[in-house]
């Protein structure tokens, strides 16, 4: 039945032909030259091979179409009977082989340069997780998650789509220009692939393993990419945004970030002594839920049966509070439920647990405060 319904929708979709076109942004027709020396070399290689292929194509198809036009039976062509020629066979084996060697030399040179991440000025650990990126500045005590910023309403067609639809995040990665930046890629769950076309960097983030890549950006600017490896339901919704800043500006940004982090810790301390009201917790909880939980458990808390469990009436949401806090903070091994302890502040955990216990008819009336979460964390240490 589901399929039949789908096909009916196909017809409706066709009637929208003119719709998508009005806001379309110009698409480049070729690979980007990018903004690094490596990406320019890669572009050059791409063009070289493309041109060699095009020339061979024109020659081969030229001969073929010449034959198709001139050696037609309808034009009275009589078939010749030549076949088998060792000389010709050797020629069309050797010549392509030589062309291949010509292609392999520059390709090898570029590849060796791409695979040399030594002497980096800055190291960033890039961790993929369903469906966001986490960036940690190795030498500095800074880390944050980078999540899709495009509102659900734009995706569902309720709002007009913005210029950077699906290519915008809440907190972009910031790197300095003219410095060699090394990326260490890994993953918390499935395989992801971190890709910024302008850097010609695409590297898989494998759970349990670390991959290396590097870039040295020539030009300040905002560069956008996407996850390239199928990583589950929202694979299409985990973009990469990198802002390259001049080194001085980057240092300022870094200092601001450190300061920001200190303030956040102070705020957390202050909240420990406070009780939030149900309304405050619920509205904050809803925000957190929609940002971090809804892509699996769904905005209505029903989950996707057989894939992601629902929270409405679930034993976790209605049962022991500590067990509920535990699964949010530590995740559930062997399932898709990740650990949110690193990602959410204690206030956010408190709010989202409260929300899940009181939304969609889960009327437990439980209020979870920041200090409850704090005590849970202390107990479990």
């Amino acid at each position: 039945m589901k399929l039949i319904k789908l096909f009916a929708c196909v017809a409706i979709a066709i009637s929208f032909v003119s719709n998508a076109a009005d806001k379309a942004v110009e698409m480049p027709l070729n690979m980007t030259k990018g903004v690094t020396q490596i990406s320019a070399e890669v572009y050059q290689l791409h063009m070289t091979i493309l041109i060699i292929c095009a020339v061979i194509g024109v020659l081969v198809f030229g001969v073929m179409f010449w034959a198709l036009i001139h050696h037609r039976k309808s034009k009275g062509a009589k078939a010749a009977n030549f076949h088998e020629s060792v000389k010709v066979e050797i020629a069309w084996t050797i010549v392509p082989f030589l062309i291949l060697i010509g292609m392999a030399i520059p390709a090898t040179r570029t590849l060796i340069a791409m695979e040399d991440p030594s002497d980096a000025d800055l190291t960033i650990v890039v961790t993929g997780s369903q469906w966001k990126w986490h960036y940690q500045y190795f030498e500095h005590d800074i880390d944050f998650y980078s999540v899709l910023a495009t509102p659900r309403e734009q995706i569902n067609g309720r709002w007009d789509k913005g210029e950077n639809y699906l290519l915008e995040v809440d907190k972009p990665l910031v790197i300095p220009t003219d410095k060699k930046v090394r990326f260490l890629m890994t993953s918390d769950d499935v395989i992801h692939s971190w890709w910024v076309p302008d850097f010609a960097v695409k590297k898989d983030a494998n759970p349990g393993f670390i991959n290396e890549a590097w870039t040295k950006v020539d030009k300040a600017g905002i560069y956008r990419g996407q996850c390239a490896e199928l990583c589950g339901k929202d694979h299409g919704f985990m973009p990469v945004v990198v802002i390259a800043k001049e080194p001085e500006e980057f240092d300022t940004w870094l200092a601001d970030k450190v300061e920001e982090k200190r303030k956040a810790q102070e705020e957390e301390q202050r909240l420990l002594a406070m009780n939030m009201t149900m309304e405050e917790l619920m509205s904050e909880g809803e925000r957190v839920y929609l940002a971090s939980c809804a892509s699996c458990h769904q905005p209505n808390g029903m989950g996707l049966p057989g894939v992601f469990p629902g929270l409405v009436g679930s034993p976790i949401a209605l049962g022991d509070v500590d067990a509920h806090i535990n699964i949010v903070i530590n995740g559930q091994t062997g399932t898709a439920m990740p650990a949110f302890g690193k990602q959410l502040s204690k206030k956010e955990v408190a709010a989202v647990v409260t929300y899940e216990r009181n939304a969609w008819g889960n009327n437990t009336g439980d209020l979870v405060q920041v200090k409850d979460v704090h005590e849970f964390v202390k107990r479990s240490l």
Partner: protein
Amino acid sequence: MTTLTENPNVAATADTHHGPAKGLKRWLYTTNHKDIGSLYLWFAFIMFLIGGAMAMVIRAELFQPGLQIVDPHFFNQMTTVHGLIMVFGAVMPAFTGLANWMIPMMIGAPDMALPRMNNFSFWILPFAFLILIMTLFMEGGGPAFGWTFYAPLSTTYSSDTTALFVFSVHIMGISSIMGAINVIVTIWNMRAPGMTWMKMPLFVWTWFITAFLLIAVMPVLAGAVTMVLTDKFFGTSFFDAAGGGDPVMFQHIFWFFGHPEVYIMILPAFGVISAIVPTFARKPLFGYASMVYATASIALLSFVVWAHHMFTTGMPLFGELFFMYCTMLISVPTGVKVFNWVATLWRGSISFEVPMLFALAFIVLFTIGGFSGLMLAITPVDFQYHDTYFVVAHFHYVLVTGAVFSIIAAAYYWLPKWTGVMYDVTLAKAHFWCSLISVNLLFFPMHFVGLAGMPRRIPDYSLQFADFNQWISIGGFAFGLSQLIFLALLIKACRKQGKPVDAKVWDGAEGLEWEVASPAPYHTFSTPPKIK
């Protein structure tokens, strides 16, 4: 049966009294290679339409940016099951069907060597696909991890229907292996006297080599799915680093199967094209021996190139260089094939019957897919192409305008032999032109979309890709609908509507299959023919 005619090649007409059983039993119990060939071919065509319908769902969702028709989870199920059905349900059974029909007739054998196993290898297939398609309607949905089912997405992070997916792939694998054994045994043992190895038609040669590839790699696939099964349900950690395993090892195992698999789907196509081109150029194939050697080289090389699907997984530099060079090498024997076809055309006496039209389209479009394949082999550039629509364009050029076009060409080439009537040529030409135009509208723009940076397997995309995706979708719907022309034509032909044809349907055709009557009698070559 008891009397032999002067010419043993037409002796087959003698056993008309020994015809097929009637009704459903004929098809259920049949051990006749022609019946089983027809079953395979019809099954493949039905699967082609079902897999195509899923492609339509994909293209409808991608018609414009935003989520309109399906949710992302169902979208992933569509891309996955579309791939599985097209590879294992459409292309492979279609070639097995052609092998069943044609190999015994081409080598002068009365049937396949192992007829009961032949029946069994076909009849388990519908159950495999029934199980696979059923999962779409179960809680949790069907497989949603891509046809490549990379761990741990297919283990820890998949729904419980994965068990049924694994079972279904096992059945497909068993079926393929049995089919392959049958082909090898038949060719090895049942060639008519005088049919020496280097006299065999190229279709027989390519299938012979393909069958060895199948036997070599289908067990590897079976191993991969079994490890996925035990990782998911029985607590093993083959692909889980936390237990000492490695998710990248899954990809090595999968592609060690997967790369020979793509040659399994294209080598028989080379055989088909090598039969059709000389027929309509009325000139012998330029280099028969070099075609055989090229096929064998491609088959051997296919075992040492698998990791070119994995350049971004973080291989050591030496590994990347090795797999880049080996992959580039494959273009040499493939080039030899294309050059040979062109040299066969040169100074021929060419006419453009429908099988020839598809064969010529194959040569041009498959070569375009070959070029993009060569581009993808260059590791540094592959980092940009990998997992984008450029790859989607590449493998659809080699599999749709390559493998599928060759199957269609084969059907148009041998259909009159099978049915005894000439099909509706007007419909066939309409089918060709509609397919040719729409398939290029469908797949050519994908190159540009990929170069511009659109990843594959995404249900929604940024606005810059909107216009091209719209065109691609229109091409997709048109290509899908064009296949209904083929369906109509096939139904007409199978009902024997059309002018009866002679034994030698095409004036330039060579080979034993053209020496038996049209339609081919139920039993052919009960007495082996004499080969000149």
